[in-house]
């Protein structure tokens, strides 16, 4: 399903480990909670905390291998 324009612009769209596309809701969860588990490979995707003023967000994010 095509992503809403807003999401397509800014969000991580695939699991960085297995490439599984994230659903729109998973992208929302990741944006707010900053961490989700990929349901395909059980990889825990963690984003850095909200950016502080004057600092750029690390778009790569941090990754933690929590493979099942």
């Amino acid at each position: 399903m095509k992503l809403p324009e807003k999401q397509a612009k800014t969000k991580m769209q695939n699991c960085p480990h297995c490439g599984q596309p994230l659903s729109p809701w998973q992208m929302v969860l990741l944006e707010v909670d900053r961490a989700i588990m990929c349901k395909n490979c059980w990889y825990r995707i963690i984003l850095p905390p909200f950016e502080e003023k004057g600092k750029k967000q690390n778009k790569e994010g941090q990754e933690e291998n929590n493979k099942k």
């Binding site: 095509k2 729109p24 809701w25 929302v28």
Partner: protein, 1000 residues
């Protein structure tokens, strides 16, 4: 707001700070995590006697905690000697604090403290001593540092509360400060007597301030959680300790209360306090500082550093201290002053602040803004988010003070609205958000429907779903909920309970309820206040206590009414609302509800009714009001068509009000993951046959009546021509061109109109599938189970405004996940009554001996209403005999349209354990998954077989049924009873099923 000052750049999780609740319902709940809950008091009996005054110390403390609205007063255990204390603390491992006096039986208090440390106890140990010579010598003893702190008993048991709060603040300051920015007060005093006397007073003032804020809490939880965000006291005894606290927490500093003479660099420094104050002021000019001294001449030194001075031993010292805190720590009212100190206004709360900001002179606004008074006052009231928003802004940032004023007013107002979003507040007219507020009125339960709505409202707000899609505003429409206590009071005040339970006539029940004259006065006032804010049409919905049950949604059992809410006289509007509320209350006792409850494990006496009063989504067209379209979406499809999977979900939509969908009328059905795969349009003929020809709207020019009818008389059916004239058909309509025998999206051509939702689903005029996909996923995640949502959409909006998606309801779906695989064995054709590959349900049913059959040969489509009544007769009889039965009929069960099937209500067939829905001649049947009827089928786990024999989808042996001896015959139906049971086998994974005839 400042001139020339840099913001520190520190930021918080904006969602967490936003209203103290955060996205995971944590927020303020995460504050004060470390508490003193269990205290071990080591003292002689006499010391305890002194502490206790006339009562038990435990009770005194408890009463004080309650009086200050503090939760969890600590437990107190007393022992009289050191060895017992150490043994008990080690053995039970539950104490958070040890308070010891100087007089314990077996050893000196210092020895006891040393022993406790040697034994590995890391609990804080505080000495509570009397002010006498023994203490003076003790203080000179280096070994006294073994105590975490020493306090003096001065006759007030509140010192114990101060000790507890002092330790809790020390334990929690790092976490709480960085969590939401809880404020701190540094107190520097090395004299035991003075700090033992100040500390209880300061804590009492702080806790009283917190208690004042309770009245402004937006609901009970908020009120008490704000207590946790109260300012903390950081008590220090020397310069270095104080400066370390200041360095760590200076951004969160409410102020400083300090002695002047205290240790610095290991030696007593008579001007340490002055130096401390100077250094603080050099760093932040606007931090309020109070300096105390026994020496009056120190007052002159203080003048030079813009601090306040109090003489320690003056008779008014404690009063002066209290006044300072109220004025400089921003406790109490915000007092608007001019540069010259003249008071020009006062605001006791946020609402009043907002009003005063409009009125006070610009001079006063500039004065306070330059000194950060607004954000300081807000922080003292735990309004951290707003305080943090305001603080970085400088007066210089604005072209004029007028602009600054407007910005302040806008910020305060937005904050008041924002902090209520996503939570169920207590309804307060002044602060209620007319766009998205969700508030309760009265006590008791909110009922299942309202709770589900409240939950989804929270999710939408916490996860910022409102504006996920461009040009669309997703929300739960504004609502208040009359909680169940109002229902109870109404029944009791009007003596209706017994009558309503016993009466079997719905019209009579309605009449009595409408005539009931007593209604709780305070509730009437709140309803009137709500109507003053919301002047749009309203939906009045039931939200019963038993609707909480995931397994019994009570779908369609109780009534929903719509109200135009447009009379010019507010009293008439209030009367209309009250009348409608009474109708909803009456519906609790209708026969339908009573029949429904009979087949559950509940009793009618247990049922209570809350009422949701909600702004409708829609547009006014002449004297009609309706949404452009509405629907029901499920995250689980019981009848998926490949490549769709059950977990892809299914949506039923219709033009106009959602009554078309929930009553089982003609709708458009699509899967959100495959929105352009519209199976029902596989042929033009099929599309035209199943076209939605009418839609429901609320009639705005009809009067709300007092008739005893149980139906909503204000809803009317309209033709597609009306929708085209209104413009709403543009979004969902297509045109049939007979010459081409084809249907084209849009209304540009001349030809019969067909509701296909082509413009939305194919032309993507509105991101409906994407929105539903997101919300269904969100709901499934939040509820932990598949969900169903009801929604309404308003496309007709003024230029520049977003289109509106209103979420009207969300409830859990019942999905049985039996693990047993069921293989449908090969059966002799002779033994089969029915087969189907469109079966709902899973497992075996082996206890059906009775069958109610709609006679295939006598079936007349014009008589389906009568057929429904006959079925209802048999149903009541078999329920009374407690005999479940198999129901076999023609056309769609529970349809709105009597020409499509048999228009029964759920309660008319509630005793059926399995149902066969068979086609009649060439009229196919397809289950309406969006209807209330369907919901009840699934929740009661009725085996449901759909048979379209004419196209090879299953079969029913009508001939066999016809030959069986009949127990009772009606004009169009008959009842069969067998000695042996039927055998039903259903494979829910493959949606296949078989019914085997009873053995002869």
């Amino acid at each position: 707001m400042r001139t020339g000052q840099q913001d520190s750049g520190k930021s918080f999780d904006p969602y967490l700070v936003e209203h103290g609740y955060g996205n995971r319902f944590q927020g303020f709940q995460n504050l004060m995590r470390l508490r003193i809950r269990d205290i071990l008091l080591v003292s002689s009996l006499y010391d305890l006697y002194l502490f206790e005054e006339d009562g038990r110390l435990y009770e005194l403390i408890r009463a004080e905690y309650q009086g200050l609205n503090l939760s969890h007063s600590p437990e107190l255990t007393r022992v009289s000697n050191g060895r017992d204390a150490v043994a008990l603390a080690k053995e039970e491992n539950r104490f958070d604090l040890i308070i010891t006096t100087l007089h314990i039986e077996d050893m000196h208090a210092i020895s006891f403290a040393k022993l406790a440390r040697e034994e590995g106890l890391e609990i804080p140990i505080v000495l509570l001593a009397h002010d006498n010579r023994e203490l003076k010598y003790l203080l000179l003893n280096r070994e006294s540092f073994v105590f975490d702190k020493i306090f003096i008993w001065q006759g007030d048991f509140r010192i114990i509360i101060a000790i507890i709060k002092f330790l809790e603040d020390r334990l929690n300051v790092e976490h709480d400060t960085h969590m939401v920015g809880v404020q701190n007060i540094i107190m520097i005093e090395d004299n035991v007597r003075y700090y033992s006397s100040f500390l209880p007073l300061i804590y009492t003032e702080i806790l009283k301030q917190s208690r004042r804020l309770i009245s402004e809490g937006i609901n009970l939880t908020h009120k008490f959680l704000r207590m946790r965000a109260r300012p903390k006291i950081l008590l220090c005894s020397n310069y270095e300790e104080a400066w370390e606290y200041y360095t760590n927490y200076k951004e969160f500093m409410l102020g400083v209360i300090s002695d002047i003479d205290f240790p610095r660099g290991g030696v007593q420094d008579p001007t340490a306090g002055i130096e401390f104050a100077k250094n603080v002021k050099a760093d932040q000019t606007d931090i309020p500082i109070l300096l105390l001294s026994q020496k009056p001449e120190n007052g002159d030194l203080v003048k030079n550093i813009a601090a306040t001075f109090i003489l320690k031993d003056s008779s008014m010292m404690l009063d002066n201290l209290r006044q300072f805190m109220n004025e400089y720590f921003s406790f109490g009212d915000f007092v608007f002053r001019t540069e010259k100190g003249v008071e020009v206004g006062r605001a006791p709360n946020l609402k009043a602040l907002w009003k005063m900001l409009r009125k006070v002179p610009e001079e006063s606004i500039k004065f306070h803004a330059e000194r950060n008074h607004f954000s300081n006052w807000l922080k003292a009231r735990t309004e951290f988010w707003l305080a943090h928003q305001l603080r970085p802004r400088r007066v210089d940032d604005y072209p004029s003070i007028g602009h600054l004023r407007e910005d302040l007013i806008h910020s305060v107002k937005s904050y008041q609205t924002l902090r209520q979003r996503g939570i169920i507040t207590d309804f307060i007219k002044e602060s209620f958000d007319a766009e998205s507020g969700f508030a309760r009125v009265g006590g008791g339960s909110l009922g299942g429907k309202a709770r589900g709505l409240g939950f989804v409202n929270t999710l939408i707000n916490d996860y910022n779903i409102h504006h996920q899609f461009d040009d669309v505003f997703i929300h739960v429409p504004t609502a208040i909920v009359l909680a169940t206590d109002v229902f109870d009071q109404f029944l009791d005040d009007n003596n209706l309970r017994k009558f309503a339970i016993d009466c079997e006539n719905d019209e009579e029940i309605t009449n009595r309820f409408l005539e009931a004259s007593k209604f709780p006065e305070e509730i009437l006032g709140e309803l009137a206040a709500f109507l003053d804010i919301v002047k749009d049409p309203l939906a009045i919905r039931s939200s019963s206590l038993l609707e909480d049950s995931q397994y019994h949604p009570f779908a369609g059992v109780y009534e929903t009414y719509m109200l135009p809410n447009n009379h010019s006289n507010p009293l008439v509007r209030l009367d209309n609302l009250l009348t409608t509320i009474k109708r909803v209350y009456a519906s609790t006792f209708f026969q339908r509800a009573k029949e429904y409850i009979k087949v559950t494990s509940y009793r009618l006496e247990e049922e209570k009714m809350a009422v949701i009063i909600q702004k409708m989504v829609g547009t006014r067209h002449e004297n009609r009001f309706y949404p452009d379209f509405s629907g029901v979406a499920k995250s689980y499809n019981f009848y998926p068509t490949p490549p769709q999977k059950s977990s892809d979900g299914i949506v039923d939509v219709a033009l106009g009000l959602g009554k078309t969908v929930v009553d089982g009328g003609n709708t458009i059905r699509f899967c959100p993951k495959y929105p352009t795969d519209l199976i029902q349009f596989y042929s033009v003929e099929e599309s035209l046959d199943n076209n939605q020809l009418e839609f429901y709207s609320l009639q705005l020019d009809r009067k709300v009546g007092y008739s005893d009818s149980t139906e909503d008389e204000l809803l009317v059916r309209n033709s597609l021509q009306t929708a085209e004239r209104d413009g709403s058909l543009n979004y969902v309509g297509s045109t049939y061109i007979p010459e081409n025998d084809a249907i084209y999206d849009g209304l540009g051509r001349i030809g019969p109109r067909v509701v296909t939702f082509g413009p939305v689903l194919r032309q993507r005029m509105f991101p409906l599938p994407q929105i539903l996909d997101l919300l269904l996923d969100m709901g499934t995640w939040g509820m932990g189970t598949p969900v169903e949502i009801e929604f309404a959409v308003k496309m007709s909006v003024p230029r520049g405004k977003p289109r509106e998606f209103g979420l009207l309801q969300m409830r859990p779906l019942v999905i049985s996940h039996e693990l047993e695989e069921l293989n449908l064995e090969e059966e002799d054709q002779e033994n089969i009554l029915c087969t189907s590959d469109q079966v709902l349900g899973h497992g075996r049913i082996e206890d059906i001996y009775d069958v109610i059959v709609v006679d295939y040969h006598k079936f007349d489509r014009s008589k389906t209403v009568q057929i429904a009544e006959e079925v209802s007769y048999f149903n009541s009889k078999l329920i009374a005999e407690e005999k479940p039965y198999l129901l076999i009929g023609l056309g769609r069960w529970g349809t709105l349209d009597q020409w499509l099937g048999i228009p029964v209500n759920w309660e008319q067939i509630a005793g059926a354990k399995a149902i066969i829905e068979a086609n009649f001649k060439d009229i196919s049947v397809s289950p309406s998954q969006g209807s209330h009827f369907f919901q009840n089928i699934t929740s009661f786990m009725i085996g449901y077989f759909t048979v379209n024999q004419h196209i090879g989808q299953g079969e029913v042996d009508w001939e066999w049924l016809d030959k069986q001896p009949k127990k009772e015959v009606k004009e169009y139906t008959y009842h069969l009873r067998f000695e042996n049971p039927f055998h039903l086998r259903m494979n829910g994974h493959e949606h296949k099923g078989i019914i085997i005839k009873p053995e002869v």
